[in-house]
Assembly symmetry: C2
Homo-oligomer: 295 residues x 2
């Protein structure tokens, strides 16, 4: 039997996109709120003996988590062969250490919670900083899709003579990878400390900028503060208005408007979080990773 | 060292009430939302080697759960001696069976989730219907407080010549207990089937009603539909306007107004869920159960 794909509420378009990328049946997942605020969950397709896949947009995760947990745990209980989650954006990856005493390392606890209701998970460019791989914190099989090839392809097709600009020194490896795939130069912003309280952000010098369009890249665009500052600096340096390319379009509050107001040329993102700026399609890459998991 | 009590956001009054009922130190628990909708949690008191207790109002639970889970799991990780939850209202107890194919038995999955972040839990009158005790679904130690003695005491002190009325035949055992404690008669509503589609709700006959005030009791008052119907029937029968006594004051939507509009004499509830109708104090009973857990 084909694998059975369910989309969580609000993730219907994601489910439809994914269903075109691997061979599956689509199941109807009912999730609603009772008047007392509790969630009701029902799988309208038999899960027993089948591979079951749940697709969910988990940006703004807190209110969505129980529905997903109940649905996946129920598929397991009903005898699904294996239960997988497809989470194009994986939340709770940024609090990956205890920076102050008593802080919850939510990346670890969230991983333990999700690992308790499924057998595998596929995601796109999780924010791996202090954790070096998902297997450090997830007890289930995981597969990570890198958006860099799709981003580089989009940049190559849409920006004449680009050069890639990374937000900080930590991003250099990833930025170099995007630039290599796009066949163009790159640089990164660096913090230059001039005194105890005087930290300036400046671009590492490069001789390759002339007559090129700066392309600011980042993995998560949330408050967009980093990208707004980078765009302003680039423009102050007399360079052309930059193109901004992000993976995950969280855009908290008025972040999108603030970034547009910074004088950028264009803002595009991958379609991991639904947003007007989505222009880079990572669904085929996700579909391939799902098919590999199911193989 | 004394046990350390933390209150979840919105549960500060609960924490203050509980702190008067057992010997403890109060810790400051910080929980806030990042702009991207994720929760940040920090315990501002050392949990290592101590008994740690979290107090939480878990009505409307979905949005609150992760904060509680992160806080409790962090206390465990930081080396707390034991971690306990005090949940005056325990949600997710009503979907206790699969009534239709594919439904999530959320009582079981929620129990598994909570059991994964703490060592014990104390609650007041959980809705035990198809599950006969919490130990059937919770893997941790649990203790259940019965509100009946406090309800009976309030009824005895505030209603002259009461008789207790239960909402359905399933409630009879509980209703009989409240009536015995209050030293008064009782009856229950029963469904009388007159045909395939003709079901009438009627009061079981009793000769003890004369000159008594009906007291409608129920465990959870959510949509209040059951209590509104019961109040209307009681008034139709020519009895005095009833006093309504509930344990858990969920009052979804306009339920409270609807119940008041039904012509009832008064509506009171236990203080397990904060509400204007709270009049019956179960905190001393909860405090005793917590002290027993910590002993």
């Amino acid at each position: 039997m084909k694998p059975l794909l369910f989309a969580l509420p609000g993730s219907g378009p994601l489910g439809a996109q994914l269903a075109r990328t691997f061979d599956c049946d689509i199941g109807d997942l009912e999730v609603h709120r009772f008047p007392d605020g509790e969630s009701y969950v029902r799988l309208h397709a038999g899960a027993a003996g089948r591979d079951v896949v749940f697709a969910a947009q988990l940006d703004r995760p807190d209110d969505k988590l129980l529905g997903l947990y109940f649905a996946a745990a129920t598929a397991q209980e009903l005898g699904a062969r294996r239960v997988g989650l497809v989470l194009p954006y994986l939340p709770y990856m940024r609090q990956d250490a205890r920076f102050k005493p008593g802080e919850a390392i939510t990346s670890v606890h969230f991983a333990r919670l999700l690992s308790g209701c499924c057998d595998w998970m596929v995601t796109v460019d999780p924010h791996l900083h202090r954790h070096h791989s998902l297997s450090e914190i997830y007890a289930i099989r995981t597969s990570v899709i890198h958006a860099a090839p799709d981003m580089a392809r989009w940049i190559g097709a849409n920006v004449a003579a680009p050069f890639i600009v990374g937000p900080d020194a930590e991003s250099e490896q990833w930025v170099r990878h995007v630039a290599a795939l796009a066949g163009c130069p790159y640089t990164v912003f660096e913090k230059v400390r001039r005194g105890d309280r005087d930290v300036e952000v400046s671009l590492r010098e490069s001789s390759d900028w002339q007559d090129r369009t700066p392309v600011l890249v980042d993995d998560i665009v949330s408050t967009a503060r980093t990208m707004v500052e980078a765009a302003k600096r680039v423009i102050e340096l007399g360079l052309p208005p930059p193109v901004c390319v992000g993976v995950h379009a969280l855009f908290a509050g008025d972040a999108y408007d603030a970034l547009r107001a910074a004088g950028v040329e264009r803002i595009v993102t991958c379609n991991t979080v639904p947003h007007d700026s989505n222009a880079i399609d990572v669904m085929p890459a996700l579909g391939k990773a799902i098919a590999d998991m199911l193989a």
